[in-house]
Symmetry: C2
Subunit: 165 residues, 2 copies
């Protein structure tokens, strides 16, 4: 039974959350750009590949990017830079298999420590161990809850977004 409004405390939590996330992302982006010439998206893609070594485009897009075409574009850049290669999949002729190169791996290994440092400095340092535990717990629940959200098709269909601006 969802209520109507939000208490000031709830609103405050939302605002603080939104701004903190925005600030953290901005700082991280600055760092990655300065340190490795990568955008956050590119870094996330490479980091994933550094673990998995090889993924299809769809697997790779999942959770990082909200459109397939965006991934195609980024993959093109990363391939051009020699950080990944793209090839056909044997299981499925439609699929493109993305594989990280040695250069890509080397870049991730070079950048990762600094990235972790930034996160530590900005997010972890001002918090107690207990806070971090809480944060992880709360965010995991919120994340899972949102992942499970119906993709806005079960909701009462509204008029077609008149694009007022």
């Amino acid at each position: 039974m969802t209520g109507q409004g939000l208490e000031p405390q709830q609103l405050g939590a939302y605002f603080a959350f939104a701004e903190a996330a925005s600030l953290l992302q901005h700082h991280v982006e600055q760092h990655l750009r300065a340190e490795g010439g990568l955008s956050y998206v590119q870094f996330q893609l490479l980091a994933r590949l550094a673990e998995a070594r090889s993924l299809t485009m769809t697997q790779l897009a999942d959770g990082v990017v909200y459109s397939r075409s965006g991934l195609t574009y980024q993959a093109g850049l990363l391939e051009q830079a020699g950080l990944i290669t793209r090839g056909p999949s044997v299981d499925d002729e439609r699929a493109t298999l993305v594989t990280i190169t040695e250069e890509g791996l080397a870049l991730v290994r070079r950048i990762l420590p600094g990235h972790v440092q930034v996160v530590r400095r900005l997010l972890v340092d001002p918090l107690s161990n207990d806070d971090v535990r809480h944060l992880g717990d709360i965010m995991s629940r919120v994340r899972d809850h949102m992942r499970a959200q119906p993709p806005r098709s079960a909701a009462p269909r509204r008029r077609r977004a008149p694009r007022s601006v």
Copy 2:
């Protein structure tokens, strides 16, 4: 004395935090687009103006957008849509004073309840009152800590970002 790496728990908190924020933003954006034809940025700008009634471009940009040119662009759209007006400031001839129109106010009033609903449904509902209190507390501290961060000029200056991709 900042340490070197991050514990798995700390990393987990970071990942959950980042993904939750991304998901929330995406959902909110979808909703605002569908409901009022506004982007998140546009909504934030209007929401601010709904409180302040009138702000200079610089004041308006603060905290919402990371580049001035971006604000100029958005203000142009909002003005075209009749939601704001731009005029010269009396105190400072350089400054542009942005004022929300009646239409703008009406739009915010129409959209805001739904926006709050979405936040409630996605962020607040899966949490206990205690969680929300904690979240607000933690995020406020992290936010303030990041706001106070030196803008990357005190840090040991690195080479000029070779733009590897």
